[in-house]
């Protein structure tokens, strides 16, 4: 049941609209309920062939030899695709935006780096024929030591997973093995804290499990072009990736999709299109490449696991003054998108709270498991779990109501965030107030009266003045081509002297309040809220 609270922030909206805000039926709903919405696999072509992939049974091994002669003679087999057949057999997804180095082959030739890594493809007249031929391929391996734990992978002498990044970490800005966030002086601030809580959090990998598995059909078209029906979540992303791997011009590919049976982030990786296109080129026939459910579950890239260490420092009055975070993204054997998530994670470290001293190192680590990728809430879901469990522990530590504690520390318009941008358009406090009201969760009057629009500081205490855009450090080498584009940042940081649309900033360090007798053990009103109420 959903209730629209139009009364809140009404003065910031023009609600005089005709189509916007209406519960209009989905444009695609009739197709959905009649089974006629055209998913990629709802297209049929005469003489369509089927591609199946031979996958590594080892997490890390050297391939000594591959004998596919029996498979080549098997009934229905039209073509065997080997690593040598792939025109450009090394790629990384974000090379499309010049972020990261090519590190992942489409088909492994010498070494397999995770269980399920593709080795050869077999194109046959039916999926069954292709599967039966796969069983005839003989591959001999020399198993290599494997590493599965992100912190083990960083220890000296750990097995090296990915030759492009031999130290098992993604390389940031050509010089760091992690993404940094530095704001204020966390270590100094901890010394002034009354309560310090240091915890370890571990997120599990998660499978996207869309009801439609990843797949595509590549069809030879006229003029040397190929029509590709695909389940991708990112049409041009997949088109450009496929063009690069097949050494084709982008206008030789005509991608059609847009009706997809669920994605949740698991259909960005372009898992099936490049080899489907290659198979269609090598056979001259339409080729379908779809993952089985078992492949989707075990070898389709999951949301990567994340391990997060958080140390928070708080003064007795319930204000968080320092946060130190060390986080590890388990990227699996190759980069895919985890390198990007680590940056997004770093920016999110303080969560929706104003913390004057923040210090974070976020690592993208390679291990011998299925390469991870984007998933709903990418880079944030695990961190939010850790941050909000941490917030609960902090509130408990000083006997403060968990909602009031969050409202107290919530960011307001005009507050400075740890990534040195001014908070605007904030609404966390209002969400907390409304949820508490709906759930009959009692919070005190002064907390009900607080607002995201009042009480913000132009710059948070202890914070260095925001660095003016012109003085920003040069961007990362691997993203140089984009530096021009970003000459003018979209959110120019305010100059320290710029007046905030709010009352005077909070005191640098609120005077520690004596614990009160209240059951909430709440800080004294004057010492904490005086600067917030107007």
């Amino acid at each position: 049941m959903l209730e629209l609270r139009k009364d809140i922030f009404a003065d910031e909206r023009d609600d005089n609209l005709k189509e916007i805000g209406k519960p209009t039926a989905r444009q695609d709903i009739l197709g959905h309920v009649t089974g006629t919405s055209p998913y990629y696999d709802d297209h049929r072509f005469a003489g369509m062939l089927h591609l199946k992939i031979l996958r590594s049974p080892h997490a890390h091994a050297r391939i000594r030899s591959i004998d596919d002669s029996a498979a080549a003679r098997a009934p229905g087999v039209k073509r065997i695709i080997r690593a040598a057949d792939v025109p450009v057999n090394l790629n990384t997804l974000l090379s499309l935006i010049q972020f990261g180095k090519d590190d992942e082959p489409s088909l492994a030739s010498d070494v397999v780096r995770y269980k399920g890594e593709p080795i050869i493809g077999i194109v046959a007249t039916s999926e069954r024929a292709a599967q039966e031929a796969l069983a005839l391929v003989r591959v001999s391996y020399d198993p290599l030591p494997a590493v599965f734990d992100v912190e083990e992978a960083l220890k000296p002498g750990a097995a090296s997973v990915n030759p492009t990044y031999p130290k098992n970490t993604f390389e940031y800005y050509g010089k760091y093995d992690h993404q940094k966030l530095r704001y204020g002086d966390a270590d100094a601030a901890f010394a002034k804290c009354d309560v310090v809580i240091d915890e370890r959090y571990q997120m599990s990998p998660i499978e996207h499990a869309p009801t439609e598995t990843n797949g595509s059909i590549a069809v030879p078209d006229t003029n040397g072009r190929f029509v590709v029906h695909t389940s991708t979540q990112a049409l041009f992303f997949s088109l450009d990736t496929s063009a690069k791997i097949n050494a084709m011009q982008s206008n030789q590919l005509h991608f059609i999709g847009g009706t997809v049976g669920g994605g949740f982030g698991g259909k960005v990786d372009t898992l099936t299109e490049p080899l489907a296109i290659l198979a269609a080129r090598l056979t001259g026939a339409p080729v379908r490449h779809r993952l089985s459910r078992h492949e989707e579950m075990q070898f389709g890239s999951p949301r990567g696991a994340e391990r997060i260490y958080i140390k928070d420092g708080m003064t007795r009055d319930g204000r968080i003054v320092a946060r130190k975070v060390r986080a590890y993204f388990d990227s699996g054997a190759y980069t895919r998108l985890s390198s990007y998530a680590a940056v997004k994670c770093a920016a999110h470290i303080p969560g929706p709270y104003t913390i004057p001293n923040v210090h974070a190192d976020v690592y993208c680590v390679f291990t011998n498991r299925t390469p991870a990728t984007a998933m709903r809430g990418f880079g944030v879901t695990a961190l939010d779990f850790a941050l909000e469990c941490q917030m609960d522990k902090l509130a408990t530590a000083i006997g403060m109501d968990p909602i009031e504690f969050r409202i107290l520390n919530a960011y307001r318009d005009g507050d400075m965030k740890a990534h040195r941008r001014e908070a605007k358009n904030c609404a966390l406090i209002e969400c907390a107030q409304v949820a508490a009201e709906k759930a009959n969760w009692p919070i005190r009057e002064e907390y009900k009266r607080m607002s995201s629009r009042n009480g913000g500081a132009a710059a948070a205490p202890h914070a260095p003045a925001a660095i003016a855009p012109s003085r920003q450090a040069a961007a990362a080498p691997q993203r140089a081509p984009y530096d021009r584009v970003s000459a003018a940042p979209t959110q120019p940081a305010p100059s320290p002297t710029q007046p905030a649309p709010s009352p005077p900033p909070r005191a640098p360090q609120p005077a520690p309040a004596a614990p009160t007798g209240s059951s909430h053990g709440a800080p004294r009103f004057s010492s904490v809220f005086g600067t917030r109420r107007r």
Binding site: L2, L4, R5, E12, R13, E19, G21, K22, P23, R26, Q27, A59, I97, F148, Y176, R182, Q202, S204, T232, A234, L235, F236, F237, L239, G257, G258, G261, G263, F264, K267, M297, Q298, P302, V343, A347, P352, R376, V380, A382, F385, M391, D392, K393, I403, Y411, R420, K424, N425, A427, L428, E430, A432, V434, A435, A439, I467, Q472, A473, P489, T490
Partner: protein, 342 residues
């Protein structure tokens, strides 16, 4: 058997669009000779409602009824470039591109109407029902259909528009992490109520109550779809899901939907939702994006509710009954102060 009830809260924000920007989307809008509009995109609808929400944005901006707009996506030959459907960027990025394209098409439409009505285009307004009329003199009006016919066959005008939306790529300072990750943020607070069986570790989610701030609910039913389905996924992430049940040990991975655990229709609970709208200055009609963040507050809210119920902290996901039971045994049983109030 002893069951304990508790409730927990989480408040979160979520950055809208690809981190650091640099993720353009384009849209093309054009009218056929009878005043029906087509939006051409290469963006993807994977269930979130891309086709539907961009259709409403286009109709609102043009000032025509929703039935007169159809969204065609995704075809790389006809749809202009879009970065893709991820990072909660659809409504914000693609929505803005469609809005820009529709504005350009609307300008031509109003010019053509002005020529037919022999007035200044600035004196004209749309009635949202398929007509264009003179402000203050509604009797002087012409249908969008007639305008389209005139533009096509008499005036030789193309009622069409192009739109692109790009948040320029932000630098990142390698030393401090100074950056512009996003131009706007959605917000949420969610309260979960659970029951914990202290003999088995089983956790049952009894109720969720939430408030989400999304800038603007362009279509409340589509927003509800995301929030209800997203909260289910959050519950699933919190208590059930993993392709590696013994991580970092890689053994015993699920192979099918029987082994990959997700809450079934018999495991769901009531979810009471409020939606707040603080328009984003750069969002289409102020809209942000509900698609991703809706799952996030559920995980910690459930973990915090379990602590409130039995006094144990679970720092590892998923919070399986086994992990709860192990924690309870380590603690020497549930916190007695939190016995079920029922």
């Amino acid at each position: 058997m002893t069951k304990h009830r508790g409730r927990g809260v989480a408040t979160v924000n979520y950055p809208i669009g690809m981190n650091l920007g640099g993720d353009p989307s384009q849209a093309l809008v054009h009218s056929n000779p009878s005043g029906k509009f087509t939006v051409a995109l290469s963006s993807i609808d994977l269930g979130q409602g891309m086709k539907s929400v961009t259709r409403q944005i286009c109709a609102e901006t043009l000032g025509v009824p929703i039935e007169d707009v159809y969204v065609d996506t995704a075809d790389s030959d006809t749809g202009p470039h879009c970065m893709g459907s991820f990072a909660s960027r659809g409504t914000h990025r693609v929505g803005n591109a469609v809005m820009a394209a529709a504005r350009e098409a609307r300008a031509v439409m109003m010019e053509a109407a002005a020529e037919e009505l022999e007035v200044d285009a600035n004196d004209l307004e749309t009635d949202g029902r398929g007509n264009i009329r003179v402000k203050g003199a509604p009797q002087r009006s012409i249908s969008v259909r007639d305008v389209a016919v005139a533009a096509q066959f008499r005036q030789g005008k193309t009622i069409s528009g192009r739109g692109i939306f790009l948040v320029p790529l932000s630098d990142v300072d390698p030393e401090t992490g100074e950056m512009s990750p996003a131009t706007c943020y959605a917000h949420a607070c969610l309260i979960a109520e659970v029951e914990v069986d202290d003999e088995t570790g089983d956790v049952t989610v009894l109720k969720m109550t939430s408030a989400y701030e999304l800038g603007r609910a362009l279509n409340p039913k589509l927003v509800e779809q995301q929030l209800v389905g997203g909260a289910w996924m959050g519950m699933s992430h919190a208590l059930y899901e993993t392709p590696e049940p013994y991580y970092p040990d890689t053994r015993n991975g699920p192979r099918d939907f029987n082994e990959y655990l997700m809450p079934g229709p018999g495991d769901i609970c009531p979810h009471d939702i409020a939606v707040l709208e603080r328009p984003a200055p750069d969002g289409p009609f102020g809209a942000k994006g509900p698609g991703e963040m809706c799952a996030n507050p559920v995980l910690p809210a459930i973990a915090n509710a379990i602590f409130n119920a039995v006094g144990v902290r679970l720092n590892e996901l998923p919070i399986t009954p086994e992990r709860v039971l192990r924690a309870l045994k380590a603690r020497g049983g549930a916190a007695s102060s939190t016995r079920a109030r029922s």
